[in-house]
Symmetry: C2
Subunit: 214 residues, 2 copies
DNA sequence: AATTCGATAATTTTCGAAAATCTGACATGG
DNA sequence: CCATGTCAGATTTTCGAAAATTATCGAATT
């Protein structure tokens, strides 16, 4: 892996996880010291992240972490619902046995990690992402999967700070995931879409109250 | 405008218009000579284009123009239908008087340019793009507009070579645009969606036969 | 007191060269 | 004849410094 790719992965992670505050400037000198590399690979990474809307750039004034607002969250969430319900429908229509197996496997891996008391939070997030990706993976559209990844990263930026602010949850997220998987495996597209939609709307409600609290 | 931004605009145009063949390597030395700048701004532009899927990159093996295939075109077209019908629906529901006026203006400008015998093809394409953007512009979603721009560029790569190969058209595209605008201005969302869908499906049919001929 | 101007510092942007890596040809051994 | 290793050339990637631009601060002016 080249330095530029490492810079891209690290920066993306740090932005999504909130290590850099929204709107804070991303100065090359600071980043260079933080990640131990020159300007070139950093600029490459920043340009890619700009195209993904995680950072903004102004000519000759450098880069900043993109702003965060309730309106932008709502926008990203609505786009997600549009993209993911369509992708899920396609996936259910087109997925084969191997796809079903991958959904089962992803759910299993997610649950296993969720039940570990000593669990690594990073690993849990990775598996959560993997489960949601597995649901859509058979949709057959590179563009929809691309949009899914973008929107997932964009909304993930809100999930983390909001959830800590909102306190303990009353939801049984594990059960929601299980219900979605069941509907998918029985190829009930309408039910699966409805459950996925509800799943996101519930998360959105939590995040809204979390942002209001923060 | 910085050199990197110029490089981005130029490269994007040259790729979309087909000045570089799909899959052809984009060597830094060549590009440096062609555009009269060093490697740094070119790499920045290429990285942004990579995030937009117009170019692909392989570690330590440089950049290539993304491939072109009927399957990828169909994928982009279907994504476009999903995104644009939704954006159009929202636009019709939310657009105000100023938006209506901008649609009328964009259609007028497009028609004016289309009727000029000595017309600049570049200008016509710009206005065509502007008209379709104006239709959706009141949707209120940055993400949907972002996806629209990406998909427009992706499909534009197919429109140009296919149309020249397919020969003269029997369609009255001007009338199709007019009908869409009429439906939009009368706020008939269902009709507008249907007309937009038909408009794209007809273009898609032309492109399919054009690709088959080529 | 507020504003403008100029000099200095900080920062981004760009270049040119060095380092790292890949490609293809050629020789060598099985 | 085929496989394998090696070397030179081509290409990408990275660095460090130079160039260009913006930001900051104090003095002069209104």
């Amino acid at each position: 892996m080249t330095l530029a790719e490492k810079a891209y992965v690290s920066l993306r992670k740090d932005i999504v996880e909130g290590s850099f505050a929204p709107e804070s400037p991303l100065r090359l000198a600071d980043l260079s010291e933080r990640y131990g590399m020159g300007f070139s690979p950093l600029r490459e990474a920043l340009n890619r992240l700009q195209a993904e809307r995680l950072v903004t750039a102004e000519s000759l004034r450098g880069f900043r972490v993109s702003s965060r607002s309730l309106a932008e969250f709502e926008d990203a969430l609505n786009a997600r619902l549009l993209i993911e319900t369509e992708a899920l429908r396609l996936s259910i229509a087109r997925g084969d046995d191997a796809w079903e197996a991958s959904v089962v496997a992803a759910l299993y891996a997610l649950r296993r990690q969720a039940r570990r008391e000593d669990g690594d939070v990073d690993e849990l997030k990775t598996r959560h992402h993997a489960f949601h990706r597995a649901l859509l993976a058979a949709c057959g559209s590179d563009w929809l999967m691309d949009f899914f990844e973008r929107l997932y990263a964009a909304t993930e930026r809100y999930r983390i700070p909001a959830l800590t602010a909102a306190g303990p949850q009353k939801r049984d997220i594990d059960a929601e995931h299980g219900a979605i998987a069941d509907a998918v495996l029985s190829r009930d597209a309408a039910l699966a879409e409805q459950l996925l939609r509800d799943h996101y709307l519930r998360t959105a409600a939590t995040i809204r109250s979390g942002m209001a609290a923060a």
